[in-house]
């Protein structure tokens, strides 16, 4: 029996049942079916994963989906080590977030809707990662985008939420535009859109070029960059990163599940999946590395100046996603996927802990929090662990994956590798700095909110704190499967993925590896110390700094004004052209002018002709005579 089919279709069944019967029958029991099905998927994923570890790889078509001429594509599943890792992350972290949501969404009037969308999301996410072809990947890709749209705009009566959902969907469409063109190019080049034939034939087209507007472009580079466009949109990299921070309008479990642990990592997954293509284009690899590296530092600097607790974490997510791309760009796909996997735990934890805080305080502004640790010790402790893990403190999950990335960048031997290594080392300072800034401001010192708010402070119920504890254990321990060899580990994670992702060549000595690790660890710890000085001891320093470096502070606070830029160079011109030029002039004046003008001219002509029909017999006689004259003249001519 193909039990792996249960993995995606259980959540789909939950969606169908909840959306059809949720409003009338199920109502506040909607979580039962959603949670049980995802736990079912998790169990099936584990069983499948064990099969994969034992060397069984599944690549099966379920049925033929679309056929037209030579184009043919199936709904089919590929389960290999890379898929197995993703399955574990999506269903594992997903289950914990589902359970947490029971507490967080309790009493919301859209309760059944929330769980329906979550289940639908998981279905599409699973279709995405389990696909064996590009079209089904695209199905999942757009599907998760849709659910993201629903869930960001979940509280749709709020304009900001509805706007953010729409923005996310449309921004992603820009990326998907490129992605779709990439898929078209793949079909035209290989005559197939299934992974196995494409990846096995890609080496035969090395060096081929294609003419674009007079320029000869390397075919593989073109395909890789077009695919990467999709990843840039979905994983919110520069320049399409603008939707993710706004996406924080959605309920916090959504931010944890979709905008941290799973959906936004789909871009990284896709690049890793297509490593056979990317590996053959140095240009594309460099673009991936640089976009990732720049986004990583860019977002980290913004996070420093944000006061919305969820936005801090959102920019942190951008930054970490950038790191994953950076790893892929230097050929260290396994390191990127490793970070994807550890990140899912500590970032989901950061979000859920933040959700727990928001649940208690009732708003997102860390400047109006403070001293929360005595009211909510579990939340405090778990978030602390998450921040340590995110900051790359040795021994925790985040450390191992981040170290792997930093080392891969340094040891890749290329100039681009060195450049992004500098970037990511700078990020290694900012990550712990902003994480602990957030924690110190929220949990330490005195409570700075109103008296009324203080009265309400409480620890969250067990249904929320237990998932936090599980995730904290994950944030500590999941990295231990990838301890590098110089620390006495076996790097099992990279070994496991090697058949799919290969292994990069390192140019470096053990001494260098120790040195790099020592450097980044020192930088990370100094980040925490400086945060402690700024926000625990000498709290006047950051205020003074913000005043003295006001232009920089405002630049960071306003996120480098990218949103404003897009508004002025893109949105307003398009609307202006549509209203004034197209609708106002071409459609209303030119085309309609002709359409209404021709009959009018005919009408005027008719008025003149009508005058001939005077009814006076003599006039008719004259016309007749003239007619006869002309006819005779013509015949005689």
């Amino acid at each position: 029996m193909k039990y792996y089919l249960l993995i995606p279709f259980l959540p789909l069944a939950a969606f169908v049942i909840n959306i059809l019967f949720g409003r009338g029958l199920i109502r506040d029991k909607a979580h039962w079916i959603s949670c049980l099905t995802i736990i079912g998927s998790f169990i099936a994923s584990i069983i499948t994963g064990i099969d994969v570890i034992n060397g069984k790889i599944i690549n099966e078509d379920l049925y033929t989906w679309i056929v037209a001429g030579k184009f043919s594509v199936s709904v089919g599943f590929l389960i290999d080590p890379l898929t197995a890792v993703m399955l574990f992350v999506v269903t594992g972290v997903g289950s914990l977030i589902f359970i947490y949501s029971i507490g967080y969404m309790h009493g919301d009037k859209g309760y059944y809707r929330f769980f329906s969308y979550l289940s639908l999301f998981i279905f599409f996410m699973l279709m995405l990662i389990m696909s064996n072809n590009f079209i089904q990947l695209y199905l999942g890709w757009e599907g998760v985008g849709l659910c993201s749209y629903f869930l960001i705009g979940f509280w749709y009566e709020k304009k900001a939420a509805a706007d953010a959902g729409k923005k996310a969907f449309i921004t992603n469409r820009f990326g998907d535009f490129g992605f779709a063109l990439g898929v078209f190019m793949i079909f035209l080049t290989f005559g197939s859109v299934h992974y196995i034939p494409v990846f096995s034939e890609v080496k035969n087209i090395v060096g081929q070029t294609v003419n674009i507007l007079g320029y000869e472009v390397n075919l593989i580079t073109l395909i890789a960059l077009l695919l990467f466009c999709g990843a840039v949109g979905k994983s919110a990299q520069i320049p399409l990163h603008v939707w993710l921070p706004d996406a924080m309008e959605g309920p916090t479990p959504v931010s944890a599940l979709i905008h941290a642990a799973t959906m936004v990592t789909a871009g990284v997954f896709m690049v890793a999946r297509c490593n056979a293509i990317f590996n053959l284009s140095q240009v594309a690899m460099n673009v991936v590395a640089i976009v990732g590296g720049v986004t990583s530092l860019f977002a980290a600097t913004i996070a420093v100046a944000q006061n919305d607790i969820k936005r801090v974490i959102a920019y942190s997510t951008l930054s970490h996603l950038g790191m994953m791309f950076l790893a892929c760009g230097v050929g260290a796909y396994a390191a990127g996927v490793f970070h994807l996997y550890t990140h899912a735990f500590f970032k989901a934890l950061l979000f859920l802990a933040a959700g727990s805080v928001i649940h208690a305080v009732g708003h997102n502004d860390i400047q109006r929090m403070g001293g929360l640790r005595k009211y909510m010790p579990i939340t405090y402790l778990t978030m602390f662990v998450a921040a340590l893990s995110a900051g790359g403190i040795p021994g925790l999950a985040g450390f191992f994956s981040k170290d792997e990335i930093i080392w891969s960048a340094f040891a890749s031997g290329s100039l681009v590798g060195k450049f992004v290594w500098v970037l990511v080392t700078a990020v290694a300072f900012f990550t712990p700095f902003y994480s602990f800034r957030m924690i110190f401001l929220a949990f330490h010192g005195k409570f700075r909110g109103t008296h009324h708010e203080e009265h309400h402070l409480h620890e969250s119920p067990p249904v929320m704190t237990i998932p936090l504890i599980f995730l904290a254990l994950g944030a500590i321990g999941v990295g231990w499967v990838g301890i590098p060899e110089i620390l006495g580990g076996g790097a099992h994670f990279a070994e496991f993925l090697k058949p799919v992702l290969g292994h990069p060549e390192f140019h470096g000595t053990h001494a260098q590896e120790w040195g790099i690790m020592g450097l980044s660890t020192t930088i990370a710890i100094s980040g925490i110390i400086i945060a402690a000085i700024f926000y625990l001891m000498k709290t006047y320093i950051p205020i003074k700094l913000a005043q003295q470096l006001s232009p920089i502070y405002r630049l960071l606070f306003n996120k480098y004004y990218v949103d404003e830029l897009y508004h002025h160079i893109l949105i307003r011109p398009i609307l202006w052209v549509s209203t004034r030029f197209i609708e106002g002039i071409t459609d209303a004046k030119i085309i309609e002018g002709i359409v209404n003008g021709v009959p009018k001219t005919i009408g005027r002509f008719a008025v003149i002709l009508r005058k001939i029909q005077s009814g006076v017999t003599q006039h008719y006689a004259i016309f007749m005579a003239a007619g006869v004259f002309i006819l005779v003249a013509l015949i005689l001519w």
Binding site: I19, R23, Y63, T64, W65, I66, V67, A68, G69, K70, F71, I135, Y138, L139, W141, E142, G143, L146, Y149, G153, Y156, E157, K158, K159, A162, D163, K166, F169, I170, R173, F174, D176, F177, A180, L181, F184, F187, L188, I212, I574, L575, V577, S578, T579, I582, E583, T586, D587, I591, E592, V595, P599
Partner: protein
């Protein structure tokens, strides 16, 4: 006859589909006009019966051949070699089915919204649908032209009698536009009739070869008729007015089936009759298609009127269809045909959805709504599904058609594919803006207390949701109808078929003698 497969069913299926609605309309004349309920039920029963009798087209169709099937052939006016000749192939069969489905929906959705001249309204609906089914199944040019023009009369009345305040302007525009196009086509039909030695047999005519100069001129003559119907840029401006002023059922007929006649005309006549001219005109056709996609999409972004927005989105979507057709490859044409069905389902459904809310508030202005999702959650759900299909979300039917037409366009010309693909971004933009303004955000006081959809409305719209998902998840079942016919068409157009040059005037001179 090797070109066709005669009808083997126990009843003449195509004649039934065309004339059962006509009989229904005749029976309606016998009913006293005060018995409105009876009138509606009789109309509905005839539409449903027609639909059920059309099902064998789906189940008994032989998907392995390009030949015409369910053929009925009788002499009609032997002096002129005019025959009563009906048949369907993989290109037309789904469109006939779409017509029979649409007529039921039109009747259901008008149930409570038509209050004056009820009897005449339902007669007009039945007659229009019958005539359109005739257009899709005629294999005799003369017969085709009769249906093509006959359809206009009831349609003219539907908009002109039961339409909105500006209906007279809209109907005149609609009729003038289509008549100008049709007249040119009539000239073309007569020309090929005489050229081929006095036959209206479409199968014979499409197997002949014509001189290039004749192909060229006649291509444009037919183009005039079909481009107006599609409508292609720049002859699209009748559609927004017609849609805006038409009653809901009128909009549904327009969007779902009437404008498909244009695209069908390209496939059935323009391409096989004039393959060489078609090939030469591909750049022009693709350009016009891409302009339609982007241009109409941009107009949608700034529309304030619900129906106008959806009307312009039709123009944009039809641009995808014509692009697919003139890409002249399997993906493009099959995608185009499938997208004709999809567009019928989705845009028809969107107009029905607008009708649902218009019946309650009598406003088409987007600004008069807001926060509807809170007050009409079921309605919001229905509307969402069709919105998603309209933006081509994978898993819905819109994706399959849009993807295949884009793939076809991209294969034919990369730049065309790239430009057309921007239409996908624009499409997401205007549909989501529309949805947000109507359903999300603060509740507009004007919508408080509106009742959600009733059973009748759900019955009318649920089948369309099923189609959206069915075609989206398992499109092969529909695409299989088309393969041999499209293959056959491509074989015709892929080789040169130029006959010796003739003087255009000569043939007409023979007529005069």
């Amino acid at each position: 006859m090797e070109q066709m497969v005669m009808n083997k069913l126990s009843y003449p299926i195509l004649s039934t589909i065309i004339f059962l609605p006509v009989i229904g309309a005749l029976i309606l004349t016998l009913i006293n006009r005060s018995r409105e309920s009876l009138i509606k039920w009789v109309a509905l029963i005839f539409a449903v019966a027609t639909f059920f009798l059309s099902i064998p087209l789906f189940t008994q169709f032989d998907k392995s051949t390009y030949k015409m099937q369910f053929v009925e052939r009788h002499n009609w006016i032997p002096v002129w070699n005019i025959e009563y000749f009906l048949g369907v192939d993989g290109i037309s069969v789904l469109l006939v089915l779409l017509t029979t489905v649409s007529s039921i929906l039109c009747i259901l959705i008008s149930w409570n919204s038509i209050k004056i001249k009820v009897k005449e309204f339902y007669m007009a609906i039945l007659l229009t649908c019958g005539a359109i089914a005739g257009v899709f199944s005629s294999l005799d040019f003369f017969l085709f032209y009769i249906f093509w023009e006959a359809m206009l009369i009831p349609m003219y009345l539907i908009i002109g009698v039961w339409g909105g305040p500006n209906r007279i302007y809209a109907t005149i525009k609609f009729i003038l536009y289509t008549l100008v196009g049709s007249v040119l086509m009539l000239v073309g039909i007569l020309y090929v009739y005489f050229y081929a030695g006095r036959t209206f047999d479409i199968l014979k005519l499409t197997a002949l070869t014509y001189p290039y100069n004749i192909q060229f001129w006649l291509f444009w003559a037919f183009f005039a008729a079909f481009a107006v119907k599609v409508p292609m840029f720049p002859v699209h401006t009748w559609l927004p007015d017609a849609h805006t002023e038409a009653p809901t059922a009128g909009s549904v007929i327009l969007a779902a089936i009437l404008i498909k006649m244009g695209a069908y005309g390209f496939l059935r006549f323009s391409i096989p009759l004039f393959p060489d001219a078609t090939r030469a005109m591909v750049p022009a056709m693709l350009t016009l298609s891409v302009i339609a996609i982007i241009y109409a999409g941009l107009v949608c972004l700034v529309q304030k009127d619900l129906k106008r927005l959806i009307a312009y989105s039709s123009v944009s979507h039809m641009g995808f269809i014509t692009m697919g057709i003139f890409a002249l490859n399997m993906q493009g044409i099959e995608g185009g045909i499938l997208q004709m069905i999809n567009h019928g389902v989705v845009t028809g459904a969107l107009f029905m959805c607008v009708g649902v809310i218009y019946d309650r508030t009598h406003s088409r202005q987007i600004a008069d709504y807001g926060g509807l999702a809170t007050h009409m959650p079921i309605y919001a759900g229905f509307f969402m599904v069709f919105t998603l299909a309209a933006v081509g979300l994978p898993g819905t039917n819109g994706f399959i058609g849009e993807f295949l037409t884009l793939l076809g366009g991209f294969t034919a010309n990369k730049l065309v594919g790239v430009l057309a693909a921007t239409g996908v971004i624009i499409g997401a933009g205007y549909m989501l803006i529309l949805y947000q303004k109507v359903f999300f955000m603060k509740v507009n006081p004007k919508v408080i207390g509106l009742p959600d959809m009733d059973l009748r409305e759900m019955v009318a719209l649920t089948p369309l949701i099923l189609f959206v998902l069915w075609i989206g998840v398992y499109p092969v079942q529909f695409l299989d109808f088309m393969h041999p016919s499209v293959q056959h068409l491509l074989e015709r157009v892929s080789v040169t078929n130029i006959a010796e040059e003739t003087n255009i005037a000569r043939v007409f001179m023979e007529v005069i003698r």
